[in-house]
Symmetry: C2
Subunit: 404 residues, 2 copies
């Protein structure tokens, strides 16, 4: 494989946040009507000005800078005292012990943790089960490591009370030799969570076939009422075969500090540290200090954050469901919503560009997450409430305008 | 190649900063005499409490946090306005144009830039010319990418006025198919710079054989008087075949913010951004703001920093040269010094552990940088002046104690 071919599959032009590098191209011929004015909303990621970082995060960062060299130069896997603080909080949250010394690594964002986890478990030709739809980088990580992707469908749209993962297809992937299963829970982009039965089945299958499971639980704290979240790592399976990834970039709006953690299998964490040593050395030393605020937010702060997100979710659901032909499942956790649009006169990728051009609305095309999601778009609704609803109305207006 | 074998070569136990994870093992049998007390000094990296971060760096970071989402979420390759500021400063410093839009990427530290540059130019089986001695991660990066290392010796010890790179061996490597040449200038660990003639020869050879050159110029600003530094990228060779890496982690003591930049070849930078998107997304958004202080330090600040480092260097040279059997070349740039010790009764790796145990002195073993450097140790002398000299005296005392 030449280096050129290796990178040809790693396109980022449609990736969230990269819209600024897209050429506007020749949309002129297909445009209908005038632009609809309104405050631009970038649904490709959360708005940390609308939902601001955890209280005290900046103060704790400042104290880290004040602490000087001790905080700037940590072990590659991160500052031990901070890992110790986090270990018991994460153990308490996930319902299974966390080893601060050998079973945890602090990374530059959860993206850093995902990269290290995949590159530490997948080598050339290894088969990896990947959910469709799921976080777009999962597929790219497997491709970069020259693994072979075994797709597993998730029928999130027509099921309720579970994610809709095709467990038969997952077992087939393991039977065919998949060594690793990588998935996000809650699912990104669909915003659904796996039921207890689904998680137990994943644990049983992974045990039976000796597979490693990497589970990205980035949004596991932002659960809407009535939702029952099950942690894979607390189930019956070999703890050395599970790596759990979390971070404070989303719900806690700490993305600007680039922090993530991976915890679980000591052997895999040890490999991840070796790799981090040549990939980025360590998560920013001063930033690591900000983890002291994590799982230690003021009383009621998280509840309020959830209530505010729920209110936006409910208004978006109402707007989408009032529009004929838009299919949308209720987000159960996190701040993604993934409506499927009716058939349009333009391809999905063009409609996404039209939305940006004519409505000042940035969304992520469904094809980033699954080849079967061409009609869907992902919105991160962690936004200013009124601006989000107004932007959603412009989106719906353009759906009407470009409808077949 | 199994994932286990892939990681077996990536050991970090002897890597700088990781000494805390070393087991003290069974040194008891070889220890001589008592510990020598004194303020511990960790020469594995600079002391940012002794040489503090650039003035205004924290204020500029704070303004970044204040700016909110705009600063937290940048393009993967970094904030455009910051890239534009930096482009002309780096062009002016290196003597060749820098394209802010397409020819530069901001990374999490220079380590991040090195990883992305190597992983974007080296695929399985590609031959890569690597200097011996050179920064220890260079070899590991090639191994991780499953490239084949072609060693090129540098006889820094017995030459003057040039680095001592074996240009014949470099040409042989290119003749044998090396596609990439990766080196640091000033050299880490030897602290020497490449002469104008050497850099011109590298440019000529790279052009002749169509090779890509990745040059790590991390310490290129900390030049001692009488030294003439030559920038490879300003020589006669195809600009698309050169990537230059720099960062403010060392001389400017901004390591805690994890910042680096790579600039040059647009095609390689584009690949690096695609890869950064799945490795760590971006350098920490708020941290990127700190680059506004880079190459914009107060008048005289850099001159004073150089004078202070020079004074420490000169005292260390005096101490080492007063000790029979220690060979050391004068550091020409940066803050590394790489003395070769006389024959000892214990292996070099044990002596490094003894130094830590009996003298409170942490140095990096020469074998991290080259298989031919077993007798050498690397010291980063960006330390408190008095503490560094006292620690050097303890080191010399232990050399005397363990001398054959």
């Amino acid at each position: 494989m030449t280096i050129q071919s290796k990178f040809s599959g790693l396109g980022t032009d449609a990736a969230p946040g990269q819209e600024v590098r897209q050429l506007s191209g020749s949309l002129g011929a297909v445009l209908r009507g005038d632009a609809i004015t309104g405050r631009p909303v970038d649904f490709s990621h959360g708005d940390v000005d609308a939902f601001t970082p955890t209280p005290r995060s900046f103060e704790v960062f400042s104290a880290g800078v004040e602490a000087g060299g001790k905080q700037a130069y940590t072990e590659y896997r991160g500052d031990l005292a901070i890992r110790e603080d986090l270990a018991w909080r994460l153990a308490s949250f996930t319902g299974a012990p966390v080893d601060a010394g050998d079973g945890m690594i602090i990374t530059p964002g959860t993206q850093g943790a995902l990269f290290l986890a995949v590159a530490s478990t997948v080598s050339r030709g290894d088969k990896v089960a990947i959910v469709q739809p799921d976080y777009f980088a999962n597929r790219k990580l497997v491709e970069f490591c020259e693994g072979e992707m075994m797709p597993v469908r998730m029928d999130y749209a027509t099921t309720q009370g579970r994610s809709g993962l095709d467990l038969g297809q997952l077992e087939d992937a393991f039977k065919s030799g998949a060594k690793v299963f990588l998935f996000s829970n809650p699912n990104n982009p669909a915003g659904v969570i796996y039921s207890r039965e689904e998680i137990e089945s994943i644990a049983t299958l992974a045990s039976r076939y000796g597979a490693t499971v990497v589970v990205d639980q980035l949004y596991a704290r932002l659960l809407y009422p009535g939702v029952d979240y099950t942690h894979l790592r607390a189930q019956q399976l070999d703890a050395e075969n599970v790596v759990t990834i979390m971070g404070p970039s989303k719900t806690e709006s700490l993305s600007g500090y680039r922090l993530g953690v991976a915890f679980g299998s000591k052997e895999i964490i040890a490999r991840m540290e070796k790799l981090q040593a040549i990939v980025s050395l360590r998560a920013g030393g001063y930033s690591q200090a900000v983890l002291r605020t994590w799982f230690d937010e003021p009383d009621g702060w998280m509840d309020q954050r959830i209530r505010e997100h729920q209110a936006i979710r409910d208004d978006l659901l109402k707007a989408f469901r009032a529009t004929s032909g838009i299919q949308v499942r209720t987000t159960e956790a996190g701040s993604y919503i993934f409506p499927a649009l009716p058939q349009l006169t333009v391809p999905g990728s063009d409609f996404v560009r039209i939305l940006r051009l004519q409505a000042g609305v940035i969304v992520t095309p469904g094809t980033e997450f699954s080849p079967f999601s061409e009609s869907a778009v992902r919105l991160n609704f962690s936004q200013d409430h009124a601006a989000a609803i107004a932007a959603c109305e412009r989106l719906v207006a353009l759906v009407e305008r470009y409808r077949v």
